[in-house]
Subunit: 216 residues, 2 copies
Amino acid sequence: MKVTVLQDIMSANDQIAEKNLEVLNRYNVLAVNIMSSPGSGKTSLILATIKELRDKFRMAVVEADIASTIDADKIINEGVPAIQINTAGQCHTDANMISSALVNLPLNEIDLMFLENVGNLVCPAEFKLGLQKSIMLLSVPEGDDKPFKYPLMFSTVDAVVISKMDYFPLSDFNLEQFENAVKGMNPKVKIFKVSAKTGEGLADWIKWLESQVKEI
Amino acid sequence: MKVTVLQDIMSANDQIAEKNLEVLNRYNVLAVNIMSSPGSGKTSLILATIKELRDKFRMAVVEADIASTIDADKIINEGVPAIQINTAGQCHTDANMISSALVNLPLNEIDLMFLENVGNLVCPAEFKLGLQKSIMLLSVPEGDDKPFKYPLMFSTVDAVVISKMDYFPLSDFNLEQFENAVKGMNPKVKIFKVSAKTGEGLADWIKWLESQVKEI
């Protein structure tokens, strides 16, 4: 006899994820799952993106953290609707948390939704959420060896944003080696080099995001 | 009737953790669990510490990663015994992994052992391992708001090492605010400010570590 408990758990999550995707597509909302280590600059990228796109798209943000509402507060200060999920110790968001957030958002008034996932390079990659796109940030100070240590994350995202490029001159980050490693695992991945602080590279990221919204 | 499955899992882990502690104490080995986000500089701190203490103590390192042996290779290049644990997707080390590593180390020839845990600010804090001390690194580029987002980690470690201080002049990291937040959660915690690259602050960290080895 086969033990199937874990499989059942995963498929319950996946079922809810499928429903989330249906709901998002029905309302023509592009939802982007943003993942990274703690402190790689997810909130800063979202804030910079809101400034660039606020005249073109109606946006909303779902913030997920173990605790606190620090990030949601920053988003609301920009006049953008934000929902905070406190995961109560859980190291990732699951489909059910997203489902609860979607119920609380005015989806017919939203074109583009960001999920800022819990800061973690492992667990968030393992759970389907039903969002159309997933991206990750890797900040320059974290170093260029991360694809080998966190292969699942790097091989499943649609785009990798190298963030904090303003630290690049001080670092020994090897861009070519990093890009080769990531493309080796994930040939279709888009790679962007961005500093939310100086604005470097933001234009390419924004252009890609716009094209993704238009495809929905 | 009460469901007790999760409780059983945890106590099995805790029992093995207790045995690990007994073994370490019996051999007078001080074992330090080093935790942080990915890319905060755990390996660099360990390498710098090996250089400072190699004439005083016999050291060994247990490296834990989802995948790869990049970090263990660096340690072995320094002539220090290293064991690599590949956690096969798991976001933390558990007591049983440590137990297996201890069996494979010449404990009677070791004074000081480091565990470099999986890069993750959430899950590693939840599992008892049986190591006498636990510390975490928080690198300057990650930002000073992390204690509020990862309270369990910050409130349970013996020491916090603020790493990559060489990035401090470029950052807006508020040291006073950060230290107050951490001390508020964890009044007995030691806080060190270190750059493994420039050597800044290493002396205080080394002095503390020496005093801990001597207490064993």
